[in-house]
Symmetry: D2
Subunit: 298 residues, 4 copies
């Protein structure tokens, strides 16, 4: 397939390289031209502008740092909107805002072009090793059209329906899960370190018990199914345990704001009659706060 | 070995049963006597009191619901303190407070008895399947003495030094990690559901990408080593992404208090000159809040 | 009246002095005896122990630093419980826990003694100037008995019913309001300072517009009456404004965790259909979280 | 003076009316024309567009609901930018974002026009009674030029320097203080109500002790001066009291997220060696989080 690729940073370079290795004809563009050199050596054409990269291409990928960078290559005199042919497809892999994704959907639509949002999970090493996990959302036929390309850059693909911005919501939610776990780990390491436990020991325990276990998965399942009864572990026991965490942290003088937040939510659950549900019912409270449904209704 | 076991609930029963299966001579006690019946049938002696269960035992386990229950079986006229012989060992597997663990350490010490704190990770099914992960802290020779017993109830053992309460801190920290991840999942499912993404789809993505991946492990390693440079993913990009999460959540009217908390911590990091460190530096900020060290010093 | 006074710190000394000035016969006790000297010179008897201070007294005040100090003077061989006569009254003015207040109620009751909880608002200067505000809770006849004494140390008195610990709840709630306002001020000064506004200017504005205005009072009234309709200022406008605060704070790199918390609560209100109520409906959400009533029911 | 006024809602109408009463020649504009009728009867000219209202005016006020409404009247074919003469002054009293205020500053500057940001504190009743408090920021001569007008609509004026957006930051900070106090009151009423105290009683106490007292003012002064030593009330005692609040709230099953937040900040203060400073040092921690200065440096 004739493919354009815009943005040859840590992520874009290996992705483009994998597309080339899969046999596609490639035109690449990067603001600082020297980053395009390795791909030129692999046989790619080096374009002078985003519009130029899009010339004659069936599909053009973009993989850039943020909203501003994406706006920079899409809009403007030599931008993608100008260069992309009618019916040609822009695959946006950058981690951008839901709002910009919706704006791109509209802008390409008006120009008679197609748009698929396809952000990825994985670091540069994963991109090189073709181990990215790719999300994709957009019109069915568009996703099907670029499927071979998405499969050429990753180890798996999740299709998220016809609204492109859904893929951005999911990508952002995934990064939120990582940041949340990091915060939790930060607070847990602070408590254990200050309680005299070697970080290396707590790390090794985390690796043995949590990191690759089905524990987190089980809670995700309970929340996805809104299945909070019968309780495997009661919410009121969750409250008890987090209280003990905060008691220990108070004695050791370790602030744990995330523990405070979770304690308050457990306490709300108990105050509102959910004490005998599974402690995964934190998910029911989050849904209710969003106006999704009243707790106790499921 | 001659072993006592106090507390035959969902967790205690299978643990006691595994000790019996490993060939140990068992005396068991439970407040409601009928729960002792299955173990009687396996050849255990059914004791009339905690003290009675401790009679002649080299090691006595207790596995109860909370601080109150443990105090109830240890102190008092027919309690463990009265029945346990000089030099005999109390192995406490309940999830109790650090404060009570320290009080037990002292009380047993004064009585010429030994005390090991040995809480476990795992649900009743894991207890039945001998798949618990056991923590242990206490005097070296005491931990060694009960090691075969601890190995008989679980799949792995982490020894946490000579201060018994360290095991309680770690057990509580583990439960805190689970509760935190559950809160994060609850908020993420609320956002994705309200954005029109099927819970089943987000669940399957979580399973594919996060649940058993090395992602969380990598961040735990960075925090354990306080290795925040060079950045794999910069803290200022973490801030950007969590801002986009909150922007999307605001537009969809989904409160995400954990996302707010993480955003504020990232923002503090950037405001204080840590924007180019790895976003795992949330751990550095947590450590500093606890008075452990100043950020930037590592 | 024959009055004992235990605890002659910054607060106790002027309170005792005011009681003496009002003509009462005084026996005082303080752990470090030299602090009793000024009162001895005013004609007070210096007692050797809490029990000794209580000897023959109709009413004994205690004003100490914390739970531990109060336990120290009440319980034990030479404690208040031993020295206080049958029917005599302990007036506890310390800021102590609700739990200890309930324990004291019970202990004095068992000993045939009376107990009134009477914590105070005001700093040492206010105590000296007889400008404290006194809370009182306990049996009606007990509160009436010590009323002249309570009026001798302050400028006002609020009686809070027959359960002594109610006064402690209210005292703690008052300190919580101060701490919360201080946190809010701290964040507001951080934002304005970093935005280039002189602290002195913002202070002077706070003094002119907020500090002594009826603004806060009006919101307290709306919450007390649960009167959230018709809206004076709509909750959705409150959300808008706090979003703008966070937007400005984000641009200036100023973390404002209290603003984040309030934003999340406003957002919950809007998501759950309360956007057109008065923004004081934060109070309805707090009540609901406590299981008091469902929002929208009023 | 020849004055234009755009936006005749609850706030704009009485402000315009007060300007007319002060003898100024008035042209008014409102999207729905019938709201202009009362002012027409007072002798104002009713304009057909924002541009028309600005025709020949020396100063034009705008008082609208939000950013969108302000953009609507300023930009566009019949907007203020088009109608305002060279050297004429736009006084923006709406509560808008800092970003929009900066954009307006630039747009008017490019058009050879002047811009003063002048948001107000006060509700519609205060606007009618000429009791608003007005903020003003902009070039000195511009503020002086409109000073008589600003004084005609309020009881007081605070000038905040030459950067217009500073007034917006301060206005938003003021609304943040109100919202924070409302949240604090909401949580305090939930705790006291659930503890059996009549809301009316707690309200009356709040009125007597807090609402118009110098308490909050004193803390604002300490923070403005960064004067955290010597302590009037030590931070470690603040921690103790908020812990007791959370203990009482936990027992009564009342979640108090703001109390949790303040507790965590006090705990951080103690952990980092600030326990003997005044509890107003919450302000030092907020400043440090913003990268303003290290705690302990003052």
């Amino acid at each position: 397939m004739k493919v354009g690729f815009i943005g040859l940073g840590n992520m874009g370079q290996p992705m483009a390289s994998n597309l080339r290795a899969a046999g596609h004809e490639l035109a690449v563009y990067n603001r600082s031209r020297e980053k395009a050199e390795p791909l030129r050596q692999q046989g790619a054409r080096v374009a002078d502008s985003p519009a130029d990269a899009a010339r004659g291409a069936e599909v053009v990928f973009s993989m850039l740092a943020d909203d501003g960078a994406v706006e920079g290559v899409v809009f403007g005199d030599t931008g993608l909107l100008v260069g992309l042919g009618r019916g040609a497809l822009h695959v946006s892999s950058s981690t951008i805002s839901v709002a910009l994704s919706e704006r791109l959907t509209e802008a390409h639509g008006k120009a008679g072009q197609r748009y698929v949002s396809a952000p990825v999970f994985g670091r540069p090493e994963a991109a090189q090793a073709k181990q990215l996990w790719v999300l994709a959302a957009g019109a069915k036929e568009d996703v099907e059209r670029c499927r071979p390309l998405l499969e050429a850059v990753g180890r798996g693909l999740t299709v998220l329906g016809e609204r492109p911005s859904a893929a951005n919501v999911v990508k952002l939610s995934g990064n939120f899960l990582i940041a949340s776990m990091t915060e939790a780990l930060g607070e847990a390491f602070a408590l254990t370190r200050k309680s005299g436990i070697e970080p290396q020991v707590f790390l090794s325990l985390f690796q043995s018990v949590f990191a690759r276990s089905p524990i987190f998965e089980r809670y995700a399942e309970l929340i996805a199914r809104e299945q909070y009864e019968p309780a495997g572990f009661k919410l009121r026991l969750g409250l008890k345990d987090v209280r003990l965490v905060l008691e220990a942290a108070g004695a050791a003088e370790v602030p744990m704001p995330l523990a405070s937040l979770v304690r308050d939510h457990f306490l709300e659950g108990v105050a509102r009659g959910m004490g005998d549900k599974d402690w995964a019912a934190l998910g029911a409270l989050a849904a209710e706060r969003a106006g999704l449904d009243e707790p106790g209704s499921k």
